[in-house]
Structure formats: C-alpha cells, structure tokens
Symmetry: C2
C-alpha cells in the first residue's frame, strides 16, 4: 500500500509535467517522412503505403485486450506443454534407471535416491543463484501484488527462467510437490513480460489498473492450462487472489483460460498422445445411477474429516517452518550450507518410498499422475480385488501387496504422504502444495469408498436393480474436499469436474467441499494466508465469515486518534521527540501541523537510520544512548528485520531463513546496542582486543 | 444512487440520536425478572433456567449467516418444487383436455386455445391488481437494487404472492416463457421477507450492507434451485447482477444454492419421480470420444451465429416494446383494456402451435421440457431416422412429419419460436426469457448437428474406430451459446453442464459461448440492460470491454465544471434563475455558496412543482409563461415522465405503458402548456365551452 504510494508520489510530478507539456505542444508536430509517403510519387510508393497501413493496423490491434489474452494463452499453453513433456521425460528416466538395475537392490536404491536428490539440489541451487524470489508457490505473493503492493523482482524474466527450470527439475524428481501455485506465478510473469514486450509497439500497456486486471486474468490462465480446467481455473484464481472482483474482468479470465486450455489439449492430440480432446484424468463412472441418496452421510463424513485434515496440514506445514526457524544452531548451519536441507529431505522421502523397501506398503513406485489415475479407477479393489484382466494392470498392481490388504496400503499411504507433503513443500524450490493434497484427499476418499463397498457389497439401494458402490466417486469427492479445505476454496469442486470430465457427482462433491471449508476455515487460515503470515508479506487479513458482530464495528471504534506525525519542516529535535513519544513502526508525514495534508508515511527505522547518518558522531552517540535507554534493543532489531522484509528488497523466497542483508543489519544494530551499553572505558579495552 | 442518499440523510439524524442516547445511558439497566431467575428458589426454577438458556442460545444462533442461508435454501426449494408440480399439473391438464377431444378438431382447437388464454389473462389480471411490480423478469430490478437503489414495493409479501401465482399460471399455459429470471426475484423477495421475519428474534438483520449481501446470495439460490445448478447459479447471478463482487460473499451463494438444489432434487426422489439425484435434463453422450477436433469449426459457427441471433433477439424484443409504446392509438386502447394484449398474443401463439394445424411442422405439441429432452437426445434423427424402438417414441414422434423432413421442422421451429418468444416475453405477466432462448439455441445446435451428421455419415475421424457425430452435443452447445449471447454471460456454459450432467463437451461449449458473447456484446446490450433502458431504471451503464482508450480517460476530461446549484437559503428568484440558466434534470443542493457542502440533489421537475404550488396564482402564471417561452414544452413533459418512473413510485411492471400517475402528470402539463400558449381571451372562451 504505502510502497505504491511513495512510488506514485515520485511519478505524479513526472505525469503532471508530461501532461502540461502535451497541452502546450498543441501545435501540430512536423510530419514524419512515412506519413508523407502517400503524396510522393514512385514505383514502389503504393506498395510501401500499403505496407505502412498494414503495419499501422497491426500496431493499433496490438493494443486490444484480446490480442494480449490470446498471446498469453498461447505462450502459457506452450510453456505448460513443454514443461509437462520435460517432467514426463525426467520421470521416465528415473523409472528406466530403476528398472534397468533390478539385478542389484543396492544399486537400485542408489539410483532411486540419487536421481531426485540431484534434481532437487540443482533446482534449489539454480533458483537460489538466479532468483530467490522464484522459490515456493507464488500464490501468496500474487495475492499481495494484486492488492497493489509492489514486490520487487517478482515479475521479471530472471525469475521466470528460474521458476520454469526450477519447477521442471523439482517435479521431475517425483517428490510430492505441486505445480499449480507456481503456474499461477509463471503465468503472471508471462503476462508482465508480454505487456512490457507489447508496449514496444503500442503505448497502451502502461496503465497500472489495466496491468493489475491483466495479472488477474493471468492467474486464471495459470490454473487453467495447468489442469486444462478453464472454468475452475478462473474461479480458483478469483477465490484465491481477490477480495473484490471486477466482473468486467471475468470474460478476460474465461477467454484466456479457455484458449490456453484448448491449445494445451490440442498439443496433446497433435503429439498423438490422445485421440481427441478429453479430460486429463478421465473417469468412467456410470451415468444412470451415480450414487445413492443414502450414501450422502458418507460423503458428508469425508467432507468433515477433510476439513480437519486440511487444517492439520496447514498447521503442520507452518510448524515445520517455525521449528526450523527457531532452532538457531540448525538455522545457522543450514544457512551456510543452503543446499543441505533440500538434499536431506529428498533423501529421507525417497528412501521411504523406495519400492522394494517401505515403499511397497504405500504404492511408492507410482508417480503422482499414476496414483490419481488408479485412485479414480472404476473398480472396487476390496471386493473384486485388483483386477488382473485389465490393461492397466501394471500400475494398479502397486496397491496390491501379498502380505497386507488394500486398506492397510491406503492408510499407510495417507499417513506417510501427509507429513511428506507438508515437509516437502517447505523445501526452497519452486513448488506448490495443491497436487499433493489433492492426491492425499483422493486416497482418503478411496479408503472411505472401499470401506463402504466392503460394508455394502451389493449397494445400499434395495430396489430391483443392484447398483454397486463406486469407490472412485468417493476418491473424487475426497480430492475436492481436502484440496478445498487446505486452500479455503469452493472451486476445487469445479476443477475436479473438469479434471475427471464427469459432473455426475456434483451434489456429493459440493456438500463435501462446503463442509470441509466450514470446518477448515474455523480452525486455521488457508495455506496461502499461512505462508503470507510466515513470510510477513504486507497484506491486510480478511474479516472471515459468519461473524455478524463485525457488521456493527465502525472505523471510529478501532481507530487511533492521537497519532504523532512528522511535518515537512520539523527539526531533528522534533523528530527525536516523536520517536521517543511513540512506538509506531510507521510515522505519517504531513505537510504542516496546520494543513495536516498527508504526504506519505516513513518507516521508523528509516528515520532512525537517517538520523544516525546525519547527526555528528558525538551527538549521535548521545542520542543513541538515550534511545537505547528508552526502548529495549530487541524491538528495534525486530522492526529492522521487518523493514528489510517489507521494504525495498521484498521477501526472500526461503520462508524460514531471514534474508542476508537483514541479518547484517541485525548484527550491526546488536553491536551498536552492546557498544552503547558498555562503559566508555570497557569499550576502548574491547576495541584494543 | 441519489434515492438512497436522500433516505440516508433522513435516517442519519435518527442514527446519531440513537447513538448518543446509547452512550448517555451507559448506566446498567435494571435487570429483567428472567435474568434474576437463576438466583430464585423453587421447584421449577432449574427447568425454567434451562429453557431460558436454550431460548437464548437459539436466539443467538438465529443471527448466524448459515441459519439464514439454510432457511432460505429450504424455503426456495419447497417453493420451486411446489411450483414445478403445479406447472406440470397444469400442462398435463391441457394435454389431457386436448387428448380427450380428439374426435372433433374444432373442439380440440377451442380447448387448445382457450386454456392458455384464460391462464395468461388471469395471470396478467391478478398481477396487475395485486402488485404490478411482479411483472416481467425481475433481474433488471434486482440489478438496480443490488447497486443500492431503493425500489419501492419490489421486495414485499404482496409482490411475492403475485409473482409466485402469476408465474405458475403463466408457465402452466405452455407459452414460450421462462422461469429463471422470476425465480431470482422470488428468491430475493424470500430473503427480504425471511430477514424481516428473523429480525423479530434477533436484531442482526437491520444492517443494510448485510442485507445486500444476502440478496446477492438469494439471486444465486434463485437460479440454483430453478435448474438444480448450484455452481452455474452462483456464477450466473454474479455475472448478471454485480459489477464488483465481494469474494467473501462467494461461499454464501454456494452454500445456500447447493443446499437449495439438494433439497429440490431430494424432493423429487422422495416423491418417487426419480430413483436418485441426477441432472434435470440428463444426457447420455459417449465419454471416450465426445467430439472430434475437426468438428470444432462447426461449434465455432454455432457460437458466432448464436451471437448474431442473440443480438437480434434483444433488438426484436426492444423494438416490439417500442413499437407498442409509440403507437398512441393502440397504446391508449390497450391501456383501457389491459388484459386484451396478453389474451391476443396468447391466442395468436397458441393458434400457430395447434398440433393438427401449423403446429405439426414445428413440433407444437411438445412442452418446453419435452422439447429440450428430445433435442438433447442421443440419436441422429437425419441418418438413423427417429427411432421407433425406443420407449420415448411418443415425444420424439413430434419432430417427424410424413410430408417434410427433420431439417424443415427444425428450421420452422427455430424461426417461429424466435419471434414468438420475443413477443411473449413482452406480455405483462411474471416471466423470463432464458428458457425460451435456451430451447431455441438447442434447436439451432441440433440443426447444425444433424446437418453435420448428414454430411459426414461415418464421422470425420478416419482412424480404425468409427465415431459418429452426436447431434445432441451440438444442441447442448447451441443452447449454451444462444442463452449466453442474450444474457451476455459465460456461466451459461456451467449451467448447461449441470443441467445435462455431462461436462465432456466443455471445450466446444466454452468456445461457442465466448464467441457468441464477443459477437453479441459488440452489437447489442444484454437483454437485462435493454429492459433497464426501456424501463428507465436508475442504473449506471457499464463501460464494456475491450476498449483500451477508456483506460486513459480521466474524470476531469468529462466532468462539467460550471454547475448551477441550489443553496439552502436561496430565494424563489434565485431558484427561477437557476432553472432558466441550466437545462440539467437534477440540481445539486449545497449548504451555502461559501461552504459548498453537498447535501443532496433535487429533480428539476420537483423544483418546478414546488414553485408552482408555492407561488401565488398570478405570479405562477407569469412565471410559467416565461418558462414555456424559454423552453419547449416537450422536454418538460418528457422529464416529468422520467421523474415519475425514477422517483418515489418506482417503475411499473408493464414495459410499454407509462404508469398511470405519470400519464396524469403528463396531461396536466400538456394542458397547462396549451393554456399558456393561447391568449387570455381565447382561454376564457374555451373554458366557457
């Protein structure tokens, strides 16, 4: 907010000057030679005139919204498809390596573990070096940016490259990481870069309001081309990133997301991967009797349990980050060896999923995509057994174990994946948490569905027709409910319909998603809000819902009336007094005490820094000593960290490491405080040492 | 806008007084006996304490949002189901009557024509007498109300009753009318009444902002329980009624709409109409290969043609209203015989659809529901012929004619229904236009689909498998595209998926809907905006999309700087001067010329009326003569009509009849003008006559 304001102050003067100059210069400017071309004679003149007119027409069209949106959709579809291709190749390479070494278990283990470790370490290192801003999901940052805060380096080409390559490596490793959040970020960067590129041709891309609208559309494109789910993408991006949504922006999202999803799927058809355009995870549930009315309580149970599960996931994720941050010794060690933590986590997770080892009890050999395909399967595993006669025998086999049954495998899978996903998403690589949570939810739904199928082998319906229970439908419901609970969105329901290509389970899905949301929202913030808090991004929290008392709170009930302020013509002493008399972290700057026109705000620490750099050494020492005596040093240093995080530098990607510059400031202040606390004699002695 | 402002001014003083009184009365109020109950002794005391606590708990819960939303969903589901039941009974009665009289064509015709005429006439008369506000769709009015304008009598019990009964009769008549717009209105009235009812228990329902949020949720419920389409309902209501949408209101819509749709469908199951909860118009298209990539151009053609068709529909609808309004003689005659127009229109339409007559060429015997079921049918009519072996032979038979083929029937159906729907929706009964347009769109889609099937009998795909073209899929695409074009919404796509229970055609539907929107939005306003303009509701038009020049327009570029204003202490002469010097229809009212604090605005005609009632007859005549000389009478009378429509009375339901009060004012002014234009001698003579 204030970040933008100070920027606006700077540009305002320039704008005004430009306007005035424009008004003055109302006299017709001299015509360029190209404009006079129509009146010149010559053989090539008509051709050149025609070419010029075409050029002018194209340039005028470049400014249209739909050209921009089509270009954005096209680019993102290509990026998405290329990344999917690269990720699939990476995963195949691992499978091939693992399969080729089946003579020696140790070699197999080495291959299984080394491959993802190398990839994740490379991804972490590459991102760290090129653009630390590319780390993490990106949705929390987009949420902040769409509110109008300028986060530096978040929408640059460097970050784009870092995010695309880092994400491809991270997902190619087979860790339980998602690509949906990063895609939102990638699409936004794409839109920002595209608008900067197009502004070379026409001047219509410099309006800030329009850029924000385009970014909102880009978020929709990100989700849309990630899951080939245009409607769900638009809704999800609205729910996740906006508080107030301009409906006139709606069509932009739909247009771009549909185009992007279309191209994304057409590429698959052209590449002969598929025969025609269909859903990504197509299900084949029966249409005439999708579920019985009496199964609804089971769906409601899935919803409520998913709500608790989702809240637990958010809590666990935050606790892991906070634990790592609080352990000073671990923290300092890891800060030196930045790549150790990712490598360690990857090592642990890939060791546990090693198929001949513990992985055999949790279908460890399946990739995320295969897991989803099997979970949405039409068969009833518990009753009919894993069918041997079907062509997808290979991947369904993973859920069968000779010494345990399907239920145990599912429970182990859910429990292990739960903490693994929560841990893996704290690795400082570009990654999201949507897909892992989605898979866990599907597994939980499948578990409930299999239990129901075992309980009612011939279905609940007691009429003439026997309609067996479809556990795959439960998996769909569970996936939507858990991902909805973690992200606090209802539109996961729509995403699920578009992913599976079937909408027959609409009522169970909606009921489960709403119940999951109700439970999760009353327990924990959404995953994105949680990350915003952890990273201390400048963001006003939302009021939440269902609390009618909030409707009668007025601004005057909570506002502070006696605020100390800085005037334009105040003295050093006035400043000092203001700093002493208030503990506010931001001081308002007004024109004068009489007019009280607000010019902006200044950070307390900035004032402090300016004061200490401007005052003479003697007076500075004296002033600082007073300052130290009047306040404890801790708050000062704490706020200096926050300044660094909030201020010019922008938050660092790695959530639990304070950024390096901030650390130096921190130590610097600490030294000063210590220096001032000791007596002059002692200080001298220490300096001699 | 200004309507609310003047109201606010009135209530502001009361609010402030109440606040001050509250602050003064901070001394503890005397405890009521019930609060002291816990400390009294006696045998029944514990029971009574417990009962009181329960009561208090319930009362505190009544204030919660979700209680309200559940109640709203429940009531609306019951209303929707009961109305559907009544409408189905009405339609069956007509069919039964028509079927019973098959011995005599004349008697059959009489029965076929009289029945709808009586129903429509009753509906029109009943609505006119009880609450003229219930006439029409209701969405334009809700759009205006949600912007904050207070329209009187639009959310009352009387209007509710008139709308429910009027709509039931209107739809029961079998005319091409829709129920989706009225349902939005009914749900909003339901919410308003419910919140007034619940405020008897708790005091949380008096907040205006909250009421508006609840109304927005109610709009979603209206669409949701009309089509059993919760997601589409929420999106449609957002697109149609909002410009800026508060995302925190999102869950409310989803919650209430889902609950409502659930109850609505459960009622059908309990009533043994259906075996389990499924879609309303379930389709059974094949899942593995829904459409070929090479069919997409055909879908795009449907989209573009629907765009033109939708714009034409809106244009036609408006022209009919304007034509009826402009024909003074027809207008005056119809104003006296208000019920003649509805009866006449019904007579014409039902005569044309009479099955043994012209109706045999346009499947006239089918109800709207049957038409949709047949159009979404899985068979290919042109190639396979209307299948005889299927159980729904009865209704499919209507499309087959021995002396013509399916294409002719479809073309005749589309052309006839097009103007019939445009005409029927101008009848002053509660009715919408969504469903008729939806049906026409489906028929058009079917036509294209059948043509494609005839062109490519074995499908386009030339691989090993033969996938035939599914004309039903084209019908779905056409329905979504045309209704999207008429209403300028994208969410008809989602409604279509929920209505048919299949999402496999998502990409064709999205492409067609977006293309239809692009074409229609560049040609005409949406149907609702068109009605808003016809009814002259106070509503700021939207900027529209795709015009980047609008981004660089500043307020100062279009604002008027030298505005004449009225001060609190101005004299009659000042007022007169202001009226003479400006032609603005609204005059700003400021505190004083020095402070220039805006207090509100006043209509020019109101000032004129006040002036003429306050001034003495002599001076009034003089002043009016000056006024007439300086302005032409036409503008005055025109603005007086607008005042009546905009002002206290609210717009009348019947779109092309100026409201009666307005008419009297109109004539009054006309007389005055004429009186003033004639010389005193002539006037006296005329008065003697």
């Amino acid at each position: 907010m204030y970040g933008r304001y100070t920027q606006d102050l700077g540009t305002f003067a320039k704008d005004e000057a430009a306007r005035l100059r424009l008004q003055e210069g109302d006299t017709p400017r001299p015509r360029r030679p190209s404009e006079l071309l129509e009146y010149t004679q010559g053989r090539c003149a008509p051709c050149r005139v025609c070419a010029l007119q075409c050029q002018r027409f194209l340039i005028s069209k470049v400014g249209e919204d739909w050209v921009f949106l089509i270009l954005l959709g096209l680019v993102m579809a290509l990026v998405s498809w290329a990344m999917d291709f690269a990720i699939a190749t990476c995963l195949q390479a691992q499978k091939w390596m693992y399969g080729g070494l089946d003579t020696n278990v140790l070699l197999q283990y080495m291959a299984w573990v080394t491959y993802p470790t190398v990839l994740i370490t490379f991804s972490a290192g590459f991102t760290q070096i090129l653009a630390p801003q590319a780390v993490g999901s990106g949705i929390p940052e987009m949420k902040t940016i769409l509110r109008g805060v300028v986060l530096k380096e978040y929408l640059t080409l460097k970050t784009f490259v870092a995010k695309v390559i880092g994400l491809t490596c991270a997902l190619g490793s087979g860790m339980p990481l998602g690509k949906e959040g990063p895609f939102v970020h990638i699409a936004s960067m794409c839109a920002a870069l595209l608008s900067r590129f197009l502004s070379l041709f026409g001047g219509f891309y410099e309006n800030e309001a329009r850029n924000i609208e385009m970014l909102a559309a880009a978020c929709a494109v990100g989700v849309g081309c990630c899951f080939a789910a245009p409607i769900g993408g638009v809704l999800f991006s609205i729910e996740v990133t906006s508080t107030f949504f301009a409906v006139r922006n709606y069509w932009r999202g739909f247009f771009a997301a549909t185009f992007s999803a279309f191209i994304f799927r057409v590429l698959a058809v052209w590449n002969k991967d598929e025969e025609t355009i269909t859903a990504l995870f197509k299900t084949r549930f029966r249409l005439d009797f999708p579920f019985d009315l009496q199964e609804l309580p089971a769906f409601a149970v899935i919803g409520i349990a998913s709500g608790f599960g989702g809240a637990l996931f958010v809590y666990l994720n935050r606790k892991i980050v906070q634990f790592m941050r609080r352990q000073k010794t671990i923290n300092r060690f890891l800060m030196k060896k930045r790549l150790l933590f990712p490598a360690l986590v990857t090592l642990i997770i890939s060791t546990l999923t090693f198929p001949p080892g513990f992985g055999q009890f949790m279908a460890g050999q399946l990739t995320q995509k295969d897991t989803l395909v099997t979970l949405f399967d039409n068969q009833t595993w518990a009753k009919q057994g894993i069918s041997d006669e079907f062509e997808y025998l290979g991947i369904l086999e993973a859920w069968r174990h000779p010494r345990s049954n399907v239920f145990v495998t599912l429970v182990v899978f859910i429990l292990m994946k739960f903490w693994m996903s929560a841990l893996a998403t704290t690795i400082p690589v570009p990654c999201g948490a949507f897909m892992p949570v989605f898979v866990i939810g599907a597994a939980f739904g499948r578990l409930v569905g299999e239990s129901m199928a075992a309980w009612f082998p011939d279905g609940i319906h007691t009429d003439s027709n026997i309609y067996r229970i479809v556990p795959g439908g439960y998996a769909v419901v569970g996936a939507a409910a858990l991902s909805g609970a973690v992200t606090h969105t209802v539109s996961t329901a729509v995403i699920v319909f578009e992913l599976t290509g079937q909408i027959s389970h609409i009522l169970p899905v909606m009921i489960a998603v709403i119940l999951a949301n109700a439970v999760a929202q009353s327990l924990q913030p959404s995953l994105y809000d949680s990350i915003i808090r952890i990273k201390k991004l400048p963001y006003l929290p939302e009021l939440g819902w269902g609390h009618h008392e909030k409707y009668s709170v007025r601004v005057e009930d909570i506002m502070v009336r006696d605020i100390r302020y800085v005037t334009l013509n105040c003295k050093y002493r006035d400043l000092q007094q203001v700093l002493h008399s208030t503990k506010m972290k931001n001081l308002p700057l007004v024109e004068s005490a009489e007019s009280m026109i607000l010019l902006g705000s200044i950070e307390r620490t900035q004032v402090g820094a300016l004061l200490s750099s401007q005052l003479s050494p003697q007076r500075r020492l004296l002033a600082l000593r007073q300052k130290v005596l009047s306040e404890d040093g801790h708050r000062l240093s704490d706020s200096s960290i926050r300044f660094q995080v909030r201020g010019a530098e922008g938050p660092q990607g790695d959530p639990w490491q304070p950024p390096p510059q901030s650390a130096s400031v921190y130590y610097h202040h600490d030294k000063l405080v210590q220096a001032l606390k000791t007596e002059p004699g002692q200080r001298k002695k220490r300096e001699e040492n």
